[in-house]
Symmetry: C2
Amino acid sequence: MTEPAPISDAVLAALRGRLGPAQVLTEAEALAPHLVETRGLYRGTACALVRPADTAEVAFTVGTCAAAGVPIVAQGGNTGLVGGGVPRGGIVLSLARLSRIRDLDPVGATLTIEAGAILAEVQAAAAAASLLFPLSLASEGSCSIGGNLATNAGGTAVLAYGNARDLVLGLEVVLADGRIWNGLKGLRKNNAGYDLKHLFVGSEGTLGIITAATLKLFPKPLSRAVGFVGLASPRAALALFETMRRVVGPGLTAFEVMPRFGLDIVLAHMPGAVRPLAAAHDTYALVEFSSPRPGDGMGAALEAALADALAAGIVEDATIGASEAQNAALWALREGLPEAQRHEGASIKHDVSVPLARLPDFLEEAEAACRAAMPGLRPCAFGHFGDGNIHFNLSQPLGMDRAAFLAEWGRFNRIVHDSVARLNGSIAAEHGIGLIKRDALQHYGDPVGLDLMRRLKAALDPANLLNPGKVVSDESRTS
Amino acid sequence: MTEPAPISDAVLAALRGRLGPAQVLTEAEALAPHLVETRGLYRGTACALVRPADTAEVAFTVGTCAAAGVPIVAQGGNTGLVGGGVPRGGIVLSLARLSRIRDLDPVGATLTIEAGAILAEVQAAAAAASLLFPLSLASEGSCSIGGNLATNAGGTAVLAYGNARDLVLGLEVVLADGRIWNGLKGLRKNNAGYDLKHLFVGSEGTLGIITAATLKLFPKPLSRAVGFVGLASPRAALALFETMRRVVGPGLTAFEVMPRFGLDIVLAHMPGAVRPLAAAHDTYALVEFSSPRPGDGMGAALEAALADALAAGIVEDATIGASEAQNAALWALREGLPEAQRHEGASIKHDVSVPLARLPDFLEEAEAACRAAMPGLRPCAFGHFGDGNIHFNLSQPLGMDRAAFLAEWGRFNRIVHDSVARLNGSIAAEHGIGLIKRDALQHYGDPVGLDLMRRLKAALDPANLLNPGKVVSDESRTS
């Protein structure tokens, strides 16, 4: 590993000259929040925090750093879960000041907005025009749309609307040499050459820095029904999913699953949580139907579908929210799970996907293998079942030393990821690779695919200055 | 331009040794259908037609040609409209024999199928499992799914289901050096590194050769309503589109538009065509509502929506199909238009898109400019209005010499594409770049974006052997 070049006074002076002295910070207290990530798994180092105000200043910053060989990690809300935003020397380039709405086109149903805008602000801008920006995830109050796109974020609305990737029509990107690619088009069809936006979406800041995007908006759902369902097993959940999808097609806008342990800890730790069903069940599903047509009978449709599933023996029990407040309360049970898990000690986490048909096999196989590897372990596999995406989390055995448990992270990763690989799944479904899965990607990835990724990195960032050490790049500069 | 290397006897012998002599053809009559394209605009040259039976044979063919510096153009159904499949020396690699269904997963709703499968066969395979593969276009009886993906085909179902790009979950691709990338995953979420599939989709065979794909399937629509609507202008059509989208959201599965001239020539030339509305109108829209729920009241919903639009003065007249036969007859009026136009002499064609809100401006502006440029010209702008995608076709003036009219192709391209560029549209919406728009792409494309495309081409095909001379590559080999 080559040591990153320390930033020179000349570079700092150039950046301060253009951006203003208040936007180029080197003090430890200014840097501190940008060196760590949500889970506290990594601590990085950086020479400066740089806060450009607009795309031209981002381009100037990148160009200046590129000329001097200074590495750059872009940060939005710094809410990532894989260490992708942790600096490894060089500068942290914050997109926070780029947060303007550039255009909202209600006819084309598009929103052009800068990368630093907070996801909740994006949702609000769409809602103000009576439209929907469907991307929704736990950190939506602090994550930025640029980060969502750079990591191809998922969340709870993927089933009906797709991943972040599917919600973008155009991008503006600052390249590794400081040039600006203007790909901000609000078109549903554009075959004018290679699709460059998909290269940058999900590249975690290693190929370019997204500064603005044109997003797709949708008609707002005006009719919604939410059900909370008790099931005997994940296999029954799969049968229920198939039924619901057949009944309502794109009207099935969420199908989330959690295990009995998950609901138990939410009820134990979440203030005000109320048990939704009389008895306990092995598996719970949260099912949402919605429609842009008011009075579209979503409640009746869900009730009929669940009644049929009860009669067919697929479902053990179910309840449907009788009001929007009840719908929200049912959703809160699912959304409160990650927080509840924090009260149960340390967790070893996985964000994986497998083909839907293999999801019950995966859950049975991986849970059995993990339990066998550590008596008393408490698996808590939950999440976006309808997408084949499970947060396969493992809560530590009661009373076990936290650090001793976390020391087993790699061993459990191997057990779980081996199972995912056997089923032709993905070891990184929605959180990305970052630092935490870089080595696992090398282990499990298709070698030809990995070589292609390295060639793309070399073609777009030959000096390896954009977020070095992440995804498929190593830590060293090549120039 | 470097002259392509003629194929050597040693290369032919190596290919015949592996594929069998019957699959490596050099006779003029075998080559002939592969040297021309649908519209007769180009005639290419090739040394051999090579017909591998499977992916391993494709890889062997590409590896052998790459080692000898022989250019390769991949062909599926050879139905492209932009000269993208026209060989420029070297070999034509036909994917026709790779047509097996590898897997149909009804639970995950995925189909893994080889590139040479005809689109209609893909649709039929999905239908046999009571599922829908929505991609639908005029040449579906002869185009191949590999070609659809290589060109990111569009068609009439994009509004609800997206372009070909949006219908693919995984790919298998033979790279320029003959290696095979196995990216055949049937996952709705996969963030394990850069998204390579989107690089190959739409790259028109210049970055790699798609040999198989895992496709998304959907619940079959079980309830459908089709309306044919008379309108005073494209601006009224836009107002109608907005209303329909608001009313039914993803249930609006088609919104096609044609001008009065278009319906007139369909009625004149299509056997059995019946005028759908009593009077003539400036603009016609074909509107389809569909739902996977049987008895979902799509007919009633469309009737109510059209009645409201009539009352609001958006619509002049409308009819709704009373049966599936009538629905099909209304669709036939739209689908018969390209054929009807052939009876009206030569056409100069454009496949463009603009932001939806600017579509009426574009149509007014471009039609006025074209009419001013040639008295008697008969514009026939029709197509996928709801996608912002118009086939801006120009029928020759009555009685004008065909060749003299076609000699004006470049002049009209410039008029139309200048207008598209002013509105931040795309000069290539769904048909791609190929040969016919290669120079226009250089003229209208963002220079930084074009440079990125050339860098991708150089990174993945450094010797420029895959479909040289198309999209952003020039004709010469660099090795």
